[in-house]
């Protein structure tokens, strides 16, 4: 790694001190003079027609400044899939119907929260209850209630993939296995509940501070929801306490805050409670996966027929993307001669599902990886060997979708097996102990432009100063993943500067360059990183020109930025400090500021992603055979994220993934009763605590991804995929219970265990 000065170093996060001391400002920390507090009235019914809303008593309450219902807002639907307007199914508040318990019906803004809360209790809503559906079977069954009128069968999105001759491929198989897997909903559990604060200037222009992953999308969609122009709305993303995919849409409180600020002339803030988040917030899609896989006697995979039904809940949210991506995840890890996928996104009257870390991949890989273990067992083949023989590799083409630019999947398998002692532990089992494997491949950002942006996917602007500093502006959103650190780190490397020489302004649609699709799908390091490099290259051209002119260097001299200097590579003494070069370049242009812009949009990269990451994970568990409790003793991970730009940051992502994967497979689930969420606090929503975290050991297998900045690609999101199947496989290895329906609970273990094992 010595060829770089700062890339590959564990540069500490630049927000660490702010966050540790409490100085970091999140949206809810912002208080403006005269600010009103908003609260939302939610539907107590899973499916009902709104007959009448009487807000008069609420409006009469002292301290209440504004009460609105759906009919006060423009009748405009919004949703992230702008390319397919029929998928846009939400309005700022319910207009005539509510579709889940918690659906937003009315909003109140008052001088304090308690008054706003009291006002909610004074709003009288007359409902006519409608039949509701709480599962995909009911929604797809005969006589099912129609949840959105345009979709008579409750299927809002269909995605198909078909490669090769499937029937022929299956006829060539020696062995065929069909399984059904069911996976459940979980919460993103970001520690910062959603919050938004809107202010309206006297000229009608709006500023919105909101806890979002996608300020640009919020800007565009808010403009359309309010019938305004995009540039009349400024969206600022303050510090965000995690998003995990569940904060990447325009949300109803954003619309309400902006609308009410405009109406009252006062700033309006909405901050959700944890109870609201758990009862009504976005969830990971529950899915039913039907997977039929055929292979040769020796384990060579031949054909796969995958059908997935997604429980989308009451609105599409990011479900269309999850449906789309599931089709890709089904064939990203192993080679098949023929592959068919049918994904159907089904409306129910549950709280809406959306993107949550992995975007469909945790569900997909739970099925794929569990099934690989089942096949290996049936055929008497080592589970590692069957993976190795079918693993995709660099240069493989995913038909019609993509070409894999770099891949160290097999190396990951070898390494994780070696460090975990997998084979040794399988051969000599200890009572109650088990070891299992799971693998994944993930995307480094998406290519499919469903948002229909006209801007580059990522952009950067650099302003250079004569004092040797630069100002980096980007709409990339740091939501805790660290882009405000990694982008300056990339720029520091490019320009030969130190971290403290770089000021960063990010995620403010009025000041940072157009545009960026936001932080999701693990796109930021690759896409915004490339945009930063592009801008840096343009800046270097200007400064190299200045230095060349100053020393009258031959134009064939290559120049370099290093240690705050810009100099000729063959004559290092011919050089200036970075600041001197900036001053010179600026004087050449009679004072015109030195500003360069860069951008990145994946082109000619297929429809999926510019780069694929890979990894393999081994889990060791101990199962208490009397109580059925599973304790994860250790996790080993080997992954290929291309060049590691910041090791400690990658490690942090990995730990976070294990934490989420652990909760997903062992303890987190919603207790639902006819669409009503019973566990609405962290007392009963069982997110693992720090004490429940296993010891973890990880190895990065470095590859060079030519599409990524310095060869880097996705790190951390995809890693949430293998954790559940690896732990589930380890539980099977320990006590003989094979989980096909997530999550693994002590009761299921007790029922399913076989006493003879280990």
């Amino acid at each position: 790694m010595d060829k770089y000065d700062i890339i590959g170093k564990s540069v500490p996060r630049n927000h660490t001190k702010d966050k540790a001391t409490g100085a970091a400002q999140y949206t809810d920390d912002i208080k403006l003079p005269g600010m009103l507090h908003g609260r939302i009235l939610r539907s107590p019914y899973a499916h009902a027609r709104i007959l009448n809303i009487d807000t008069s008593r609420a409006e009469a309450l002292a301290g209440v400044k504004c009460v609105i219902t759906g009919n006060d807002l423009p009748d405009i639907k919004f949703g992230n899939w702008r390319l397919f307007t029929e998928t846009q199914d939400e309005t700022g508040l319910a207009r005539d119907r509510v579709r889940f318990i918690g659906d937003e019906v009315a909003a109140v803004a008052a001088i304090d929260k308690d008054i706003a809360e009291e006002a909610l209790s004074l709003i009288r809503v007359e409902y006519e209850e409608l039949p509701a559906s709480f599962d995909i079977d009911t929604s797809l069954g005969k006589g099912a209630p129609i949840i959105h009128d345009p979709f008579k069968n409750n299927i809002s999105v269909v995605r198909k993939v078909a490669n090769g001759d499937l029937d022929k491929a299956f006829s060539e198989c020696d062995y065929i296995r069909e399984d059904v897997f069911n996976v459940h909903a979980i919460s993103a559990c970001y520690l910062e509940p959603c919050s938004s604060l809107a202010k309206c200037d006297p000229d009608g222009k709006i500023t919105l501070w909101t806890s979002t992953q996608t300020p640009y999308m919020v800007q565009c969609l808010l403009a359309s929801a309010l019938g305004m122009r995009e540039n009349d709305i400024r969206v600022i993303k303050p510090h965000v306490g995690g998003g995990f995919g569940a904060k990447m849409e325009l949300r109803k409180w954003d619309v309400c805050a902006a609308f009410m600020a405009k109406k009252t002339g006062k700033p309006v803030k909405f901050t959700l409670t944890r109870e609201e988040e758990l009862a009504t917030g976005r969830r990971r899609h529950p899915m039913r996966l039907f997977s039929k896989v055929g292979c040769k006697k020796d384990g060579t995979l031949v054909a796969k027929d995958l059908k997935i039904l997604l429980d989308g809940g009451a609105y599409n949210a990011m479900g269309p993307t999850a449906t789309f991506l599931c089709g890709n995840f089904g064939l990203m890890l192993y080679k098949y001669k023929s592959y068919r996928f049918l994904g159907q996104h089904v409306y129910t009257n549950n709280p809406p599902s959306s993107a949550i870390r992995g975007f469909g991949s945790p569900q997909s890989y739970f099925a794929t990886e569990t099934q690989m273990n089942l096949i290996a067992e049936d055929l008497g083949i080592d589970p590692i060997e069957i993976r190795r023989m079918n693993a995709v590799k660099t240069g493989d083409v995913i038909p019609e979708l993509s070409t894999i630019g770099s891949c160290a999947f097999s190396e990951c398998l070898d390494k994780v097996i070696e460090v975990s002692g997998y084979h040794e532990k399988r051969k000599n089992p200890k009572k109650g102990r088990g070891i299992g494997i799971g693998c994944y491949s993930f995307i480094s950002g998406g290519v499919f432009n469903w948002f229909n942006t006209q801007y580059p996917f990522s952009a950067a602007e650099i302003r250079a100063f004569a004092d040797g500093t630069v100002h980096l502006l980007t709409m990339a959103s740091d939501i805790g993943q660290g882009s405000d650190t990694i982008l300056p780190q990339i720029l520091a490397e490019e320009l030969g500067l130190k971290m403290e020489d770089i000021r960063i302004t990010s995620a403010d649609t009025a000041t940072t360059p157009q545009a960026d699709l936001g932080s999701w799908g693990s796109r930021v390091t690759l896409m915004a990183g490339n945009a930063v490099i592009d801008a840096a290259k343009k800046l270097k051209e200007i400064l190299f020109g200045a230095v060349t002119a100053h020393y009258n260097l031959n134009v064939i001299h290559e120049l370099e930025c290093k240690d705050g200097r810009i100099f000729s590579q063959v004559r290092p003494d011919k050089g200036l400090t970075f600041g001197q070069a900036v001053a010179l370049a600026q004087k050449f242009n009679r004072g015109v500021p030195i500003v360069t812009r860069g951008s990145y949009t994946p082109r000619g990269m297929g429809m999926v992603t510019p780069a694929f990451s890979f990894g393999a994970q081994v889990a060791e568990v101990e199962v208490d055979e009397k109580t059925g409790r599973v304790e994860v003793k250790k996790m080993w991970t080997a992954h290929d994220c291309g060049t590691v730009l910041n090791p400690v940051s990658v490690e942090g992502q990995l730990e976070g993934s294990i934490h989420m994967g652990l909760g997903y497979v062992l303890s987190e689930q919603f207790a639902m009763e006819k669409g009503k969420t019973l566990n609405t606090t962290f007392l009963d929503y069982k997110m693992p605590s720090a004490l429940d975290m296993p010891v973890s050991e990880s190895i990065c297998i470095e590859t060079y991804e030519k599409e990524g900045p310095y060869g880097a690609k996705e790190a951390g999101e995809g890693l949430v995929g293998p954790t559940a199947p690896a732990i589930a496989d380890a539980v099977y290895n320990a006590v003989g219970y094979r989980c096909m329906d997530m999550p693994i609970t002590p009761e299921k273990v007790l029922k399913g265990k076989k006493d003879s094992l280990n």
């Binding site: 809360e117 109580t627 409790r629 303890s667 566990n679 069982k686 605590s689 429940d692 007790l750």
Partner: protein, 290 residues
């Protein structure tokens, strides 16, 4: 829901506190750590018009022990203090275990064992062991002081024999009999930081291999913490074998009256009563032998 508006008092003596509570009447709540009270008040599960903070009353904030009276835990002593107290760890290890198994660090730093009892959740972590060890509570009011055996204290979920204006001032735990060993066992869905879906407290008095006396209490499997009477009887006068502790566990599981809720099913709770009772007996026996 926001916190309702209430008056706040912080008297410095037990007498003043009781006098005040008597005067203020209905809607007046005593508060130690406030970790249950304030949440209930915020959710409007309690109608609170006045809060009497007892943390300024110095005499409530102490742990004392003597060989005659046993252990006295004042009602503002925090769970963290109990968990870390050298004497409790030595002589009453299961009391320390139960305190350490309650909630999380931040809550244990605020919450009191007395408050955990007064909150009277069926799952109250600190109740089963104290019950097994024959604890009493001292209660004071405007009309004087009374001592209540802990097994007469709970009357239902969230309900105790405390009268309006009465303050629990201390938990008194007798000196453990010679040959006594104690244990606290619990299980929950999450793992290490969680509310129990089943918990068991036990005290066995051993003479060699023979169990002379046994007290076993179960939590979260009935409206109040309950005694596993038949399981206790089964052990008395017998040599504790692997088989016996399993039988006693099964006996306890027959006695309990769990419900299905989102924390566990009735069937699983019943099974766990058997397992945890067995483990509590086993650990008590081992500790007695030390």
């Amino acid at each position: 829901m926001g916190l309702s508006r209430f008056d706040y008092y912080a008297p410095e003596t037990i007498g003043d506190a009781c006098e005040l509570a008597g005067k203020l009447g209905e809607g007046t709540m005593f508060m130690a750590g406030g970790t249950d009270l304030l949440i209930k008040a915020k959710r409007r599960l309690l109608n609170v018009s006045a809060v009497i903070d007892i943390k300024k009353i110095k005499e409530l904030n102490k742990i004392t022990f003597d060989e005659k009276e046993g252990l006295v835990i004042g009602s503002t002593v925090t769970l963290t203090e109990i968990e870390n107290h050298p004497l409790i760890k030595e002589k009453y290890p299961a009391i320390a275990d139960a305190a350490a198994a309650t909630a999380n660090v931040q809550i244990r730093n605020m919450a009191s064992a007395a408050g955990n009892l007064c909150n009277a959740a069926p799952s109250a972590e600190n109740a089963p062991v104290l019950l097994a060890m024959g604890a009493n509570v001292t209660v004071e009011g405007r009309d004087g002081k009374r001592i209540i055996p802990l097994d007469k204290f709970f009357t239902g979920p969230g309900q105790t024999v405390l009268k309006q204006g009465e303050l629990l001032t201390a938990i008194n735990v007798p000196v453990p009999p010679k040959g006594a060993g104690t244990s606290y066992q619990h299980i929950s869905a999450r793992g290490k930081v969680d509310i129990s879906s089943v918990c068991v407290g036990a005290m066995l008095v051993m003479k060699g291999d023979i169990c002379e006396d046994a007290r076993i209490f179960l939590g979260a499997v009935a409206p109040t913490p309950m005694m596993a009477k038949n399981a206790q009887e089964l052990l008395k006068g017998k040599k504790i074998t692997e088989e016996l502790l399993q039988t006693a566990g099964i006996e306890a599981s027959k006695e309990c009256k769990p419900i299905t809720d989102m924390r566990a099913s009735k069937e699983y709770r019943t099974l766990m009563v058997a397992v945890l009772t067995g483990r509590a007996i086993d650990e008590s026996r081992r500790r007695a032998a030390k």
